[in-house]
Symmetry: C2
Subunit: 214 residues, 2 copies
């Protein structure tokens, strides 16, 4: 009798947990990958390599720019905790250092985000492959943004984000080729040729997208 | 000796096949799934359920419209081979039948598409999940469109498409929840209440997107 009761209780618990919406989650603290950015109003597109360090609140982005028939690599290193960003031009070993007063935003589903739906990219039919993702929406106060974000169900990795700013700029960010961990932790430390550069009093970067797309 | 030669030869073949670009592929002939459409200029968004039948060259789409505080389901049945499209309103059992002169476009990577890159959505790192996709670009002559399409490497299923029309309308189509096969083949046959409807002489639909978004 006790066994039957225990079994029934376990079954009820299992059904209850299946019926629950997915919970907000946080990505692993060290990640590398690529982002495809599209600002749709301006028809601006870019693919960029990023490294993310939630322990030290630092993000490194390698920006690839095709301009005037030249390809220029610009590295961006954002030190959120210190409120400083570096633009690093490795090809001629120069550096700029600017104020960067963006609050740290971990890669996560915010706790107040609204769960929208679960989807499979591709298929779980045999002979095919699929990826289970969850869609969430919400608003950020600073900078004021509405978002629609998709993260994988297993591993809590970002897949896609739509950001809608008050000036109607629709921004699409796709995440690819994510690796958990960071190959070279030195990527989060400004190179020695940046040591003596003074903090700019004329320029600043207000947030991540501003830094990336300028 | 012969065995060593055979092994070496097999290894060379394997390496050669690994080094090759992915080949254009064709999706399975019967599919069901969902599409998320976004016309970015107009900020129009829609999620629609589709069924695809390449044997008979027919596509069925269930369009969900929120209009004037009412939710209306409109079914669209496109018979490419016959050059006819039906708009079916099941809630009041009415039907319209219009000319539809769009050439059949199978769900595939066209043979003249240019391979761009291979990507992982998510991650293949342990404790996470990922999906391998291939990106292709190209142009369609009629209607004149530039496209950027992503299909899964395994199973050749559509993941995402960007279409750029000559009038600068950027269209994003995302595919989800794909099932190989079709649950109810009757979905490709006009319902009996459409039998006596005459072909409209005033209206027509020129292509898939025109039919979907009007």
């Amino acid at each position: 009798m006790q066994a039957v009761l225990l079994f029934t209780y376990s079954l009820c618990l299992a059904v209850a947990s299946l019926a629950k919406d997915p919970r907000p989650c946080k990505s692993p603290p060290l990640l590398e990958g690529r982002l495809a950015l599209a600002i749709l109003k301006e028809k601006t597109f870019a693919v960029e390599k990023f490294a993310y360090n939630a322990f030290d609140e630092r993000v490194h982005v390698r920006v690839l720019l095709d301009k005037d028939n030249k390809t220029i690599y610009r590295d961006l290193l954002m030190l959120y905790r210190e409120g400083i960003a570096f633009e690093i031009f490795r090809h001629n070993q120069t550096c700029t250092k600017v104020p960067f007063k963006d609050p740290w935003k971990p890669m996560e589903i915010p706790k107040d985000a609204k769960f929208l739906s679960q989807m499979i990219i591709g298929s779980f039919s045999p002979s095919a492959e699929g990826l289970l993702i969850n869609n969430w929406s919400g608003e950020v106060a600073k900078p004021p943004l509405k978002y629609l974000i998709s993260f994988t169900e297993f591993g809590c990795l970002p897949v896609h984000a739509w950001y809608d700013t008050p000036d109607q700029t629709l921004l699409s960010v796709s995440f690819f080729d994510i690796v958990i961990g960071v190959e070279d932790p030195n990527i989060f430390i400004p190179p020695s040729f940046c040591d003596k550069v003074e903090l700019s009093s004329e320029r600043e970067m207000t947030n991540f997208f501003d830094a990336l797309m300028r």
